[in-house]
Symmetry: C2
Subunit: 171 residues, 2 copies
DNA sequence: TGGCAATGTCAACAACGCTGACGTAATCTC
DNA sequence: GAGATTACGTCAGCGTTGTTGACATTGCCA
């Protein structure tokens, strides 16, 4: 077995030829290996600072939405406040992130990257986009559109909303 | 280059219109959110067993290449043997994986899923492919091709080789 | 003033990476 | 046949990052 070229999908019910078990399994493995590549370059940089991916994610989204609150960051990252706080505390201690008391609501903390934080963000971002740029260029514009379309469909609805909200807020 | 889409990128340097900083940043975020969705369903199942993603990966690749050795699995997963051993030991204790002494080389352990292991593999695989099937169906065949093309380009060369080796071995 | 929201923090725990060190059995090489 | 190498297992310890639960503070709001 293990083919599926021709005829119906092997697991009853699937009528579209391109959705064989084999195609789906390859999709799973592609995601696994690609995600490893996707994180490999920033991981090397983070290592030098003694940081991990959690720090990267915090830095990324603070840079993306300067002035964002802790609660908002919490909902984007999908972790507990204790988990985020541990990361945030260190970034603040290290002088990469600044937490300003909210102007309208003084309970809130508006998060910003410092100069140093922005420098690290750029280094991480450059490392990651370099690989993505090469991949996009090699695959071509249409492949990129397909790539994005499939990824969007793969997100949970809530995450999909977050994803689009970021773009709007970006301007 | 060689594009034809015309027009320069907004942030000097990038000559291809579809490779703006914004496109690349969206690509990064799409990967982040999509990977979360990608792992969400199996994670829920694993939780019931007290297993994590490491167990899932081991089960997946043992199922994919029955009889594979520990060393081979190590190179696919890219972790240390101590790390893999902790996971493998528990799967063997729990009766999901069987480690048979190698026939030609008795130092090797040929790994197989038991009936019970196969049952869990199917449950995990079904959960994950359901989402992927819906995403593929919604995005269409051409998007799927693009998706896979970009992911392949994003892998490290070594991982890319592993990825293709799996398909060949599958039959 | 009392209730709720936003935040921070202590403590404990688990999963899963890592390094380093050792031991055993089996195979390979000279 | 002796010695090197390979395959595997395991002990110990450590770090990041996730979790739950509990508690305190501050500030907004009705």
């Amino acid at each position: 077995m293990a083919d599926g070229k021709g005829g119906l999908g092997p697991r009853g019910g699937e009528t579209l030829l391109f959705l064989t078990d084999d195609q789906l399994r390859k999709g799973i493995e592609a995601m696994f290996f690609a995600y490893r590549g996707f994180t490999a370059d920033p991981d090397r940089i983070l290592d030098e600072y003694g940081y991990g991916r959690a720090h990267h994610r915090a830095i990324h989204f603070i840079n993306r939405s300067p002035g964002t609150t802790v609660t908002n960051l919490l909902s984007i990252l999908g972790v507990t406040k204790q988990s985020l706080n541990r990361v945030l505390r260190r970034l603040i201690e290290d002088g990469l992130v600044e937490a300003r008391v909210g102007a309208s609501d003084r309970r809130e903390r508006n998060l910003h990257l410092t100069e140093e934080g922005q420098a690290l963000e750029r280094a991480l971002s450059d490392a990651q986009t370099d690989r993505m740029r090469r991949a996009f260029r090699a695959a071509g514009p249409e492949a990129v559109a397909g790539f994005r379309a499939v990824l969007e469909e793969m997100m949970d609805p809530e995450q999909h909303r977050q994803y689009h909200r970021l773009s709007e807020a970006g301007r």
